[in-house]
């Protein structure tokens, strides 16, 4: 394949073969295969990789292994060179899929990292998953696909304690984290971080489809960054939660609510409101700054995030900024830009897992 592309007759500019990583992608359906091929083409410029695409469906009857090799090339800019990388596709179903890891290991390009993108719900007990995770330097999952995301994350973390893991859902909420953090970049608002008394998070839902993962990721992030401890909570109805946290003796109420959101994909964060305490006599709060509100919202039909900050002594300051609705491959590229462990993600996941465990083990009576 590369000999032909080298264009020995010199009639066309030779291609440039590039590889910065081995990217193993696991998918279970044909739609996933097409999406991954498209993603690889789009990513070839920034993360040219040897793509090892595994199309496996364990529930289908066992099959043999089919394999083929192709090149993914990006169209050159005028005067530029065509950049190409390799795609190796392996198709195996049923029991045959579980023996693929040995084949995959033999296909690695040397001297570059190995990244596994498991584009399905992972099963830490499954041999193929275990072997591929152990062979990888970095594993990318997407808790959008998980049924019980926090419990599963906990199981994966226990099975692979040293592995660098990431979640595309965490990448999705990065703009929210940036904008919430931005409120408290000011020296005058930073002290208010520890005067937050209420956090309200809303996420998009469709009927019974309620996935509060993103909301819990934000709640876990705030709690772990601000040293909150979980005190009590209840699930009012599926996807709707009232949680009580503590910062020292100060109570913080966190509520998570689904909002019927029409065309928005389910589980997407729609709003985050942080409120500080109202002044009360003898409360010891900063009176001139108490009663402040920090709001980040997204309207369903817009690719915009609106922020609003209301400070008692200054009134309101609002801003609209762009929210890039990232395609899956763009989220992947963001994660590939910064491979390695994400301790803050792990802390957030651990915190939220613990909250949900305790909630389910010892629920408060419903309101």
């Amino acid at each position: 394949m590369w000999a032909e592309a080298a264009n020995p007759q010199g009639l066309l500019p030779p291609v440039m073969r590039a590889c910065v990583m081995n990217l193993i992608v696991y998918v279970e359906d044909q739609t996933g295969v097409e999406a991954v091929i498209k993603a690889a083409q789009d990513m070839a410029g920034r993360h040219p990789s040897r793509l090892i695409l595994l199309h496996c469906n364990p529930t289908r009857p066992a099959s043999g292994v089919e394999a083929w090799v192709s090149a993914i090339c990006q169209m050159p800019q005028p005067g530029g060179r065509q950049v190409c990388c390799e795609q190796i596709t392996l198709v195996a179903h049923g029991a045959a899929a579980d023996d693929l890891h040995a084949t995959v290991l033999s296909l690695f390009s040397p001297d570059v990292p190995v990244v596994l993108w498991w584009r399905a719900a992972p099963d830490p007990h499954r041999a193929l998953f275990r072997e591929l995770v152990n062979a990888s330097d970095y594993v990318i999952l997407d808790s959008t696909h998980f049924r019980e995301p926090f419990a599963l994350w906990r199981e994966i973390r226990r099975a692979f304690p040293a592995m660098a893991l990431s979640d595309l859902n965490w990448a999705r909420i990065r703009p929210w984290r940036e904008l919430i953090a931005q409120f408290f970049d000011l020296p005058e608002t930073r002290p208010l971080l520890h005067e937050i008394e209420k956090v309200s998070l809303t996420f998009s839902a469709h009927g019974d489809e309620r996935n509060p993962t993103q909301a819990f990721l934000v709640a876990g992030w705030l709690a772990t960054r601000l040293d909150w401890t979980y005190f009590s909570g209840r699930e009012n109805e599926p996807g709707s939660y009232d949680l009580e946290m503590r910062y020292g003796d100060l109570p913080i109420h966190v509520d998570i609510r689904p909002v019927e959101a029409g065309s928005a994909r389910t589980g997407r964060l729609l709003g985050c409101v942080l409120e500080t305490a109202k002044p009360t006599e003898g409360a010891g709060l900063s009176a001139e700054n108490a009663g402040c509100e920090f709001v980040v919202t997204r309207r369903v039909k817009e690719d915009l995030i609106h922020t609003r900050m209301y400070l008692l002594d200054r009134g309101e300051l609002a801003c609209a900024t762009s929210l890039e609705v990232r395609q899956e491959h763009e989220l992947l590229m963001m994660e590939l830009d910064r491979p390695g462990r994400h301790p803050i993600l792990e802390d957030s996941l651990e915190f939220s897992s613990n909250v949900l465990d305790r909630l389910h083990a010892d629920p408060e009576p419903r309101a």
Binding site: R174, E178, A181, C319
Partner: protein, 511 residues
Amino acid sequence: MAETETRVNPLREGLQVARTPTPCTIVIFGITGDLANRKLMPALYQLTRDRFLPAGFSVVGVARRPKTDDQIRDEIRDSVGKFSRSGEVQPLVWDSFAQGIYYVQSQFPDRAGYERLKEKLDRIDQERGTQGNRLFYLATPPEFYPVIVENLGAVGLAQSAGWTRLIVEKPFGHDLESAKTLNTKIHDVFHENQVYRIDHYLGKETVQNIYVFRFANGIFEPIWNRRYIDHVQITVAESIGIEGRADYYEGAGALRDIIQNHMLQLVAHVAMEPPATFDPNSVRDEKSKVLRAIRVLEPNEAPQFAVRGQYDQGIVGSELVPSYRQEPDVSPTSNTETFVALKLEIDNWRWAGIPFYLRTGKRLSKRITEIAIQFRMPPLMLFGRGAGNIVDPNVLAINVQPDEGISLRFESKVPGQDNRMRPVTMDFRYGTAFGVPAPEAYERLLLDAMLGDPMLFTRRDEVEAQWGYVMPILEYWGKNQAEFPNYRSGTWGPEAADQLIQRDGRRWRRL
């Protein structure tokens, strides 16, 4: 709360952007000019759109003609729509951004205008929480810099309850004396650590990558010296002409426009010693040190080491273009050079005896900026000297634009029964060549100025050392008329430039 606790925002940990600037106001003198409309405002809009700037960020434009806030907002919106990296204006983002744009009309020498500016800034502090943080951007013709700085000082705008900084565009002075005078005038009002002198090349990804390339890889630094390097070539070539900017260019020329600032900064990046730490002043100390080690010519040495040229009409692309002297507003007897080639030497232990060849020009064959490090030949040729065995030296080429990236040329065996060789190139190309847009240089530079990071800005001593090098050449050229034009548009410059390097047994790279 303890001061240490308030200094760090715990929510920032792990985010790509370590911090955003505190709310501030940028005051752009020359808001109606080309720079503001094509570069600065589109960059600020893009930064806002990409969530790098806080709510409350404000812009005050200052210019001579009467306008309202709404008029200037409309004009800027048009510019942003044409020139911003995202290519379009998102209405709600724009509305939010435009709320913070204001205008003050003033002639630059008019003290009353600065009083009005001060009132406006105080009001913005109250309404938008900018807390006295101000960045003054001199985007005017350079003759106005002293009077603007003086007036800022006179009305008390050089200091505030927050931070105040001054950004000065190139050209920084017209020669060494005027640069020193300008520095002195600025320092009468601002401290050096408030002053940010822009060289937009330093905001380019590839230029910043020179540091990473040299100092984050163990394999290059040991050979980055006179023992292994034969010479360095730096080319900054443009295929365009002066694009209607005769009023500036006639008084500048290629030596002042490109060599004195951009190219000498590239030389500094390539030639500097590794800094002890990667903080702005350590890096700038090393750049300044190497700039001061460049051998300054005597004026009468200029003909031996420097070549100038001026383009004649010719074919560029497929278009017949006029000569420089035929350009609008250019004198038909103009002595301004549009091309310079130099041989430069650095007198220090690392580079003694190693020539740096620089060339820059307008209306050359193509647009390219490249730094090429050519290594010495092997001490012994083991593979015979037949016709098929002409060995080319290894070349490490850093391509700054348009095809950003780095390539290394080395010899490889031609498959077959004998030991014939051919050169091959190992390439690494950056995002823009790969189809991923890199941030505009001004986005990075403006953000750094707001964050108070002077790493990518030049310091007083660097600027003065750079002027010190070019002064003898300017002096000689000022006294001696050239025979212009002396190269056709669409070529690589005058023959004398080829002779400059061929005298040393070398030749310019074919780009």
